[in-house]
């Protein structure tokens, strides 16, 4: 069904030769020097280094620490269009994605208005067809207006190209409501993605419940707010044999609940964000509003459980939950600030610096988890092979830089990693054979 394809604005595929470049494709176990010829939107040829002449092609000769790998895929971003374009729009958000090495993203429906009907989804996809720099897929709402009391027209939305459904930003509080969505999923299809939070436990909270919140006098959100809902909904999914994806897991108990559900054969998957993998509530000590997100940054044991989950496969993929907010919206007291951090431009470099460099995670596994989101939504898993779509990123693994020092492609700058040391920089991003991000030509690298 062509409608389910990701959409972006038309671009002209280039003829590109990556000459004598280290090609890293963890999915096929490839890690060797190759010449890679891209033309007409696809990878034409992978050949022995120095064997292709690249006639008529722009030739990129790789230096020592450059690696060519599959462009990343982010199944969880907020592009803020329609209605909140002062934070981000389809163009600025996908430009940020390209700058971070992403070749595809999935946008959330908590916009103004909420994407909860087929006409709205159609008009948004039309807009993406004009504005998006990298392909975008959409998850419309599970319930009308994210209100939690009436199912959206899931079948009509699927026919209009919905990859699945989510009320992200809010939980489906009512178990009965979610059960109906899971039942209806049998005819509608698509993945049901869940933001897990029990509002009776999280109400009024702005940060992780614990010693720091208690000493700061900021109401805490207990991790059980998330984990009890993960456990509940994993049971619902198992009972209805539904397909559920848990968004942005943040704590030990949630990881355990997903592991149990998987062991019992439930069709569940889950994601973790770079910020939950790299930061804890200690980062909130100064009440910096860039550190306010939902779910909140949790404890060190929680962070370690997420890293272990990535290694073991309990956590299926990395998602940024890229959540831009305008400067004046974040320049308020912590408890008043909106939740969310941007993440597309820093995801790889932050994780590479924080987890790969110190030896906590293998580079290959990081690259895999940064692309695994596509398969979870029924999209082809990216591969580097002749005939495959040319969705590639050329990364300078040795580049050490400070997040924010070059400015941001995103319209917003509320990044929790701003000012932190990053390691590795996406130099060139190729999407469907077109160059969508290019620091080589800009002369920045």
């Amino acid at each position: 069904m062509s409608r389910t394809e990701l959409v972006c604005r038309p671009s002209t595929p280039e003829r590109l030769l990556f000459s004598e470049v280290r090609v890293l494709d963890p999915r096929s176990g490839l890690d060797e020097l190759r010449d890679v010829l891209v033309d007409g939107g696809v990878i034409v040829e992978l050949a022995a280094p120095g064997s292709l002449d690249g006639e008529g092609a722009r030739t990129i000769v790789a230096a020592d620490e450059l690696v060519l790998t599959s462009a990343f895929f982010d199944p969880h971003v907020h592009l803020r269009s329609p209605g909140q374009e002062h934070k981000e729009d389809l163009e600025s958000g996908t430009r940020a994605a390209a700058a971070g090495g992403y070749g595809g993203v999935i946008a959330m429906p908590n916009t103004e208005p909420v994407i909860d009907s087929a006409p709205l989804l159609r008009s948004l996809r039309d807009a993406a067809h004009r504005q998006a720099i990298v392909p975008v897929g959409f998850l419309p709402a599970i319930t009308v207006g994210l209100q939690g009391d009436q199912l959206t027209e899931m079948v009509a939305l699927r026919e209009e190209g919905a990859l699945g459904f989510t009320d992200d930003g809010r939980p489906v509080t009512s178990a009965g409501m979610l059960r109906k969505a899971l039942q209806y999923q049998r005819t509608a299809g698509g993945v049901i993605a869940l933001h897990e939070e029990d509002p009776t436990l999280s109400a009024g909270g702005s940060m992780h419940e614990g010693a720091l919140a208690s000493s700061l006098g900021v109401t805490g959100v207990p991790t059980i707010s998330e984990s009890t809902m993960v456990a509940r909904d994993a049971e619902l999914a198992a009972y209805e044999e539904g397909r559920v994806h848990f968004q942005h897991l943040s704590c030990v108990a949630s990881v355990n609940a997903v592991a149990n559900a998987k062991a019992n054969g439930a069709r569940v998957s889950c994601e973790a964000t770079p910020h939950h993998l790299l930061l804890t509530d200690a980062a909130v000590a100064t009440l910096d509003t860039r550190m306010k997100m939902n779910p909140p940054l949790a404890g060190e044991a929680d962070r370690q459980a997420l890293i272990e989950g990535l290694r073991s496969g309990t956590i299926d993929c990395i998602a940024t939950d890229h959540a831009p907010h305008a400067r004046d919206e974040k320049e308020v007291p912590f408890e008043q600030a909106p939740m969310g951090t941007t993440g597309l431009e820093t995801a790889f470099a932050a994780l590479n610096a924080g987890l790969v460099e110190p030896g906590h995670l293998r580079l290959e596994l990081l690259l895999e988890r940064l692309t695994d989101g596509a398969g979870l939504y029924g999209l082809p898993a990216p591969r580097i092979a002749a005939g495959e779509s040319a969705d590639l990123v050329l990364i300078d693994l040795g580049a050490s830089w400070i997040a924010g020092e070059h400015g941001w492609a995103s319209r917003s700058e509320n990044c929790c990693f701003a000012g932190q040391r990053m390691l590795g920089r996406p130099l060139v991003t190729v999407s469907r054979g077109a160059v969508v991000h290019d620091l080589l030509r800009e002369g920045v690298a």
Binding site: A211, S214, V218, P222, L287, V332, P333, F334
Partner: protein, 313 residues
């Protein structure tokens, strides 16, 4: 000292210095002419986003006794109600070039934020449930005046710790002055892992006889969006400080306003063991000392007195 945002920024020597200065101002306050010219020509702006009578008037009185000009800005009935942000309000008011801004808001960290947006010395008069440093200083002053020293003193803070900025500031200040702090209250009102602040936690008053000082907290209905205890009656039965629980050698304190018959019995409020009126009195002289410390020694002062340090009049 540039601002007073948090008690945590004060070491024991700084607290003792403020207490000493407050003692000097207390001497002045007993005279017929209560005013000194220390801050003549300086402007103190009271910026209050929460209803407050006693704290605001205490600061106002303190500033006026030091001959400063005082401007009161209450958030209700102002541009704030028209949707102006905290930052814009502060920038607008800064155009008047206040020397100090005394700020109270319902949000943790707001005073620290404001200190980054303007040049004035910032005094935190309460930021959400976070801190209320001048209350802690006046509590220390009151106790030192009565006991001489807090070293080895056992202080129990009883009641709604969860919603109390006074408790958080007092826990830090009392410990810094050498006291041992125990928190007691219903488990629903004692925040998780608060022990990390160095205090003990009890859910009953069985051992309250060990306390030298009992610091009771107000049951803050205005901050509660849901019932935290089954009833005020059950709370009073279990946690009220009354004659049957109070030993004659113990001191009772309360930041006010008191809910008589809830956290304290009326008899205890009116007993000589209660230092509640002393605390209110201490509020003015301690806030004088804080404003003096912040403004009289500031290098940018246009009319700073030649003699820095403690004022002996």
């Amino acid at each position: 000292m540039r601002h007073l945002i948090s008690v945590d920024e004060l070491d024991r020597a700084a607290i003792e210095r403020i207490v000493r200065q407050a003692t000097h101002f207390a001497d002045i306050s007993d005279r017929e002419i209560k005013k000194v010219p220390a801050l003549r020509g300086r402007m103190v702006l009271n910026l209050f986003y929460e209803a407050s009578t006693r704290t605001r008037s205490s600061f106002e009185l303190a500033a006026k006794r030091l001959s400063a000009d005082v401007v009161n800005f209450a958030a209700s009935g102002s541009s704030v109600e028209k949707g102006e942000s905290l930052k814009d309000t502060v920038l607008t008011l800064s155009a008047h070039r206040p020397d100090a801004i005394v700020i109270r808001t319902p949000w943790a960290g707001a005073a620290a934020l404001v200190s980054r947006w303007c040049d004035a010395a910032i005094v935190n008069a309460g930021d959400g449930k976070h801190e209320h440093p001048t209350q802690a200083l006046l509590d220390v002053y009151t106790l030192v005046s009565r006991l001489g020293s807090l070293d080895g003193c056992s202080i129990w803070i009883v009641g709604d710790v969860a919603h109390s900025r006074v408790a958080r500031s007092d826990i830090v200040a009392f410990q810094r002055m050498g006291a041992k702090v125990t928190l007691a209250g219903p488990p629903t009102l004692i925040p998780r892992e608060i022990e990390a602040m160095g205090c003990a936690v009890r859910y009953d008053l069985d051992e309250i006889g060990d306390a030298d000082v009992i610091y009771t907290l107000r049951m803050q209905h205005e901050r509660m969006t849901e019932p935290w205890v089954p009833s005020l009656r059950e709370y009073a039965t279990r946690y009220q400080i009354n004659e049957s629980r109070l030993r004659s050698s113990q001191i009772v304190m309360h930041p006010g306003p008191v809910n008589r018959g809830v956290e304290l019995s009326g008899e205890v409020v009116d007993s000589p063991q209660a230092l509640i009126a002393e605390q209110v009195k201490a509020g003015v002289v301690v806030r004088m000392a804080v404003l003096y410390e912040l403004l009289a020694s500031s290098p940018t002062a246009a009319s700073a007195p030649a003699q820095l340090g403690e004022v002996h009049v």
